[in-house]
Symmetry: C2
Subunit: 336 residues, 2 copies
């Protein structure tokens, strides 16, 4: 079934209001999740709603967070997120970082103690639309093998980068694993076999069976797991809220759902005329797209496929699988 | 033959002084190149000396640059590098970024118009030793396939991240290609065959023959080439000195050797007690190293192998292949 963007956002917002989020926060969570669907990243879309609701009910996600800003410097700030929903904390963080960047040229916001951040690309995209170059990364619990290990040691920590382009942002949002946890879940549901080098089973042996897959493999071996480890250091350790060490030492805290994030905004207008930047971004995109393609391949600029899908889905509605729809309906009907 | 660090640095510095660099700049170039050898990244070490000398002689590298700082804001600065040797410009850039970070919490320095930056890890390592979390990336000309293309469209743009660790920095320095251009050159010299998915020949066909390999393949397909494209945007386009578009449009400027870079420093002491950060970094490293290993694999923290090699080579000297030694000797003897 396909559902219009507005309707899907209304449904999701209603679910989160019923779970105790204020109207503004429920709207933000709905917007960030539906943004992912809109751009074709369905693994980060509304199918996450039931898990977000579960986080609320077990007390990992605080529906009424008292978010506090501290450690303010000219270019930096730490947002104490009080277990806010990831979209609520991360959107606030990018606003804080872009505000700093307007003043100081660059702005950094560390986010301490949030939950699943949703599609990180939402926040960098938002900054790029405000004329900023933006970087975001976030850390989560151990679900990816550390290079050389038979066990999960790091998270699939995503890295997102975006800049303004000639027709909307040039935007990359990548996991540090070869496939994301969302894509693995999708393969499990659909029974699609994995490709070689994507995952290990629970005992640390390579597997092509999505059902048996338990541990994702890092992008480029030591590169992906090294990147993820550094992201943990640059989010969780600076924010004073370690995730991986707690998980690996199997502490009580380590078993909870927790995330930290870092966003960086750079006011490119301090260096270059923003119009000229967009013109040059367009020139670069055209030069790349003019390259001779491999047979059967289309050359796409980061963010191009998402923008195309968004245009189509904004018109035709968002396809939501029956199983997901059923879960949303149940959540809307049942008393919180 | 193995040569002591001090002697190798002296030789390299003498070569660059003879090419017209001032004593300080020649020393910086020598230090950065020998650092790479010291840590086992021989592809970015003194074997680059002849190409740097060539850059000077054809006028791409300015031995007496008039570097100028402009676009100063509380957290940012642009270094107009005037075609300075990469190590000279990038070291200066990281100093400027860490100075800003001490004041503003975070500091960003864009480097406009430099040359081969050497091992980017040198600069992030330097910042980490000063208690900073640091990120650096740089863009170069098209030598890597854009995902889906049969031709080079982007550079093997490296990304380096470092934070202080318990016993020296935790430091990652990765190319956005599967193998670096330096490693490809090494394979060409030694005649070692490549692995599948690493490179294309000049016509855009996959090849395992290092000799025939002309175009590197991006790490993780669209991820690596997207990262490289975003790095070009976040260095060259913000600094107003496009590299890739010029190269792809085959302009006269596009044929010159040129690089741009961006460095970011974050004063982590503004958020967390630096001692506690190091303690937590050590705790995390221990938890990772305690994971069960894959058969025959050792679990290494980013920077650990380099630190180990450095300790060994500082004692025993740096092994320099005869061919490289011969080139260095010729350069020392011939009149500039």
């Amino acid at each position: 079934m396909t559902i219009s963007v507005e309707r899907l956002e209304r449904w999701v917002a209603a679910i989160f209001r019923a779970e105790g989020l204020c109207e503004e926060h429920a709207g933000t969570v709905a917007k960030v999740l539906v943004f992912a669907n809109l751009r074709g990243m369905d693994t980060h879309g509304v199918l996450r709603v039931p898990s977000y609701v579960r986080f609320i009910r077990v007390g990992d996600l605080n529906p009424r967070p008292a978010m506090v800003v501290r450690n303010e410097t000219a270019a930096c700030v730490l947002l104490e997120a009080d277990r806010a929903a990831g979209p609520v904390a991360m959107q606030k963080a990018m606003e804080l970082a872009t505000d700093r960047a307007r003043q100081a040229g660059a702005g950094v916001c560390l986010v301490r103690a949030t939950t699943h951040t949703g599609a990180l690309g939402y926040y960098t995209h938002m900054a790029a639309e405000r004329g900023m170059a933006a970087i975001a990364f976030s850390s989560s619990t151990a679900n990816m093998a550390y290079h050389g290990a038979r066990a999960a040691g790091v998270s699939t920590a995503p890295l997102a980068l975006a800049v303004p382009g000639e027709h909307g942002p040039i935007a990359l949002d990548m996991a540090s694993s070869i496939v994301s946890m969302g894509k693995l879940r999708q393969a499990k549901r659909s029974g699609t076999p994995l490709e070689e080098g994507q995952a290990l089973d629970k005992d640390g042996n390579p597997t092509l069976d999505a059902e048996a897959a338990a541990i994702l493999l890092p992008l480029g071996g030591a590169k992906g797991s090294g990147l993820s480890l550094l992201i943990e250091c640059m989010t969780s350790l600076i924010a004073g809220n370690p995730l991986l060490a707690e998980a690996l030492e199997r502490t009580a805290l380590g078993a909870r759902h927790r995330q930290n994030g870092t966003v960086i905004a750079l006011d490119l207008g301090r260096f270059v005329d923003p119009q000229e930047f967009r013109r040059q971004a367009g020139r670069l995109a055209r030069a790349i797209k003019a390259l001779p393609p491999q047979p059967g391949m289309e050359i796409l600029i980061p963010g191009e496929r998402g923008a195309r899908t968004a245009e189509q889905r904004r018109r035709a509605g968002i396809p939501v699988p029956d199983a997901v729809l059923e879960e949303l309906r149940n959540l809307m009907e049942e008393p919180a």
